[in-house]
Symmetry: C2
Subunit: 364 residues, 2 copies
Amino acid sequence: MYSHVAAALLESLQMKTFSQVRLVGGGIALVLALKGAAVSGQDPLPRVAPSPTGNPQTPAKIELGKTLYFDPRLSADGTVSCNSCHNVMGAGDDGRSFSSGLRGQRGGRSAPTVFNAAFLSVQFWDGRAPSLEEQAKGPLINPVEMGNKDHAQVIARLKQIPGYVAAFSRAFPNSEDPVTIDRLAQAIAVYERTLITPDSSFDHFLRGNRRAISAQAEAGWKRVQAVGCTSCHGGVAFAGPALPEGTGFYQRFPAYPGTEYERKYELSKDTGRMDATKNPADKGFWRVASWRNVALTAPYFHNGSVATLDEAVRVMAKTQLNKDLPEAEVAEIVAFLETLSASPARTQMPILPPNPGRAVVDVR
Amino acid sequence: MYSHVAAALLESLQMKTFSQVRLVGGGIALVLALKGAAVSGQDPLPRVAPSPTGNPQTPAKIELGKTLYFDPRLSADGTVSCNSCHNVMGAGDDGRSFSSGLRGQRGGRSAPTVFNAAFLSVQFWDGRAPSLEEQAKGPLINPVEMGNKDHAQVIARLKQIPGYVAAFSRAFPNSEDPVTIDRLAQAIAVYERTLITPDSSFDHFLRGNRRAISAQAEAGWKRVQAVGCTSCHGGVAFAGPALPEGTGFYQRFPAYPGTEYERKYELSKDTGRMDATKNPADKGFWRVASWRNVALTAPYFHNGSVATLDEAVRVMAKTQLNKDLPEAEVAEIVAFLETLSASPARTQMPILPPNPGRAVVDVR
């Protein structure tokens, strides 16, 4: 396991900067101290997301997953869908510091964008879900998100809706009892693997159109490598190296403690990955966030405490690299990050199957 | 005014049943006592909704209206869009007794479906908005719905979003200052006039396909006329006669007070139209609700107190006509009402214009 992960890491990163990197996969944790760095070569975002064996993409599953994704009946009181916090008509997030779950309850972390989550090897800010499939199950039974008492409650409701029983049967043929929580999660994950944005200006630039981005943005691209940002924000999603699904790429944030930013934005109030593992060694570690669409997903950081992208760049340079960037360099980096914005292909709205003649959400 | 309204009423209804009817238009109220009834002839839902002079349908306006309709940034905290309570992927409503506004606040009445609202001559349960345009402005500044302190707050936020400024300019060319609350309302109303369902089974039946509905449903259609339901639920939307925009068709509900249903479902707790007019004569009066898609919009009535359609039929027969219907007749009527279900044409999801690099909803 060690050699497998280390090889994947080194191959992808070709690291040169000193950095404390924590990798966790399948219960095995390891810490590597690495030296030196500069990303040599950068691949554009693939036009197809990686897909795990056992859950291939099919049109029937994508359509079912999209329908479920938009259906507020997946929440206990019928008010919250996946799309409520991860709005695919916007930037795949909700534009808020903390999300609003059922009965207006506030979540504890800022909703990450669903766009390109398919390229992350673990999910949630603390990496506690090893796959999109596992991630999809979490909010359903989180009391401040969708608030079901258990997954059985969700499935029992879906079974009352004839259109869902039919849609699960189409998506998972040859199943005697097609409506299950695992299949619900598989369908949603399959839909999420279509929510990718490989047509950003920067991807066009990487594919050979040198005029797809401005001179300032190109200077910003060089700057993020020279300054050291890309030693963590590498890979096609700028979220770290390509690692096997379930193996996370974590960093301490803030890496340099005691800054004014840390105090002002309360960056250390949340213990990060330690909250998931209960291991004190994980305190302050976080999954490295993707830069994809970062210009569209203000406010920033796990607590959504920073309202603007330029300030987020200053915070990261100071807390992670102990650098006070000149404003011209901040502007270059912002110009570069803006080239990573794009929307997924437009698709039709789903039609949520009705519950004819009978309310399925508790009446009053 | 009297003769105009009365003529429209009589022409549309060809009334024969005794009924207390209250019409209110342009501040003038009148009460007509009418006798006898049976709807002769029934037109299918037109394929195009009526459109007021001064706000014609255009593709740019429809697209802008759809985008605004889905944008939660129209609410103070970025959590509630028009679609949150009037979900056009579902039946145009939210399937709940009372809607959930920002910070989980509960509204006081059940959200009516937006589908075919374009065929109603007044909006809201109490008819307090004379048009779709006026309706659209209400929830924006309702403290338990979208919670903006005034319309200026909404417009100031939209002006921070470059894509909206451009979209308003396209939708309202030749305007020096295109982003205004009236144009926002016009765009949303134009979009809502596309949310019509003229392809229900019953419309196909009315257009000549006699096999489009079952024998039981056809018996139900005869039953609702014979029992007297259609003396109020007439017109193409089964919500009353065609009246000029702004002129409402109201009925007392319950018409026969003191039933067990009234007590059980608290039908008289809300004073209805009196709440809007402050006129005691309007106590217990309500806009006659449409039957279009009624089978898809449980739970029922202004307070969403009745979970099933068959029970809603029993309640209406008893409270409005003082009749205890045999179960076979209830089943016929339900079968007929189910033939009024349909979805609007599927369309693409809008793309909500981004607010690049800066949060527009208050951070934390």
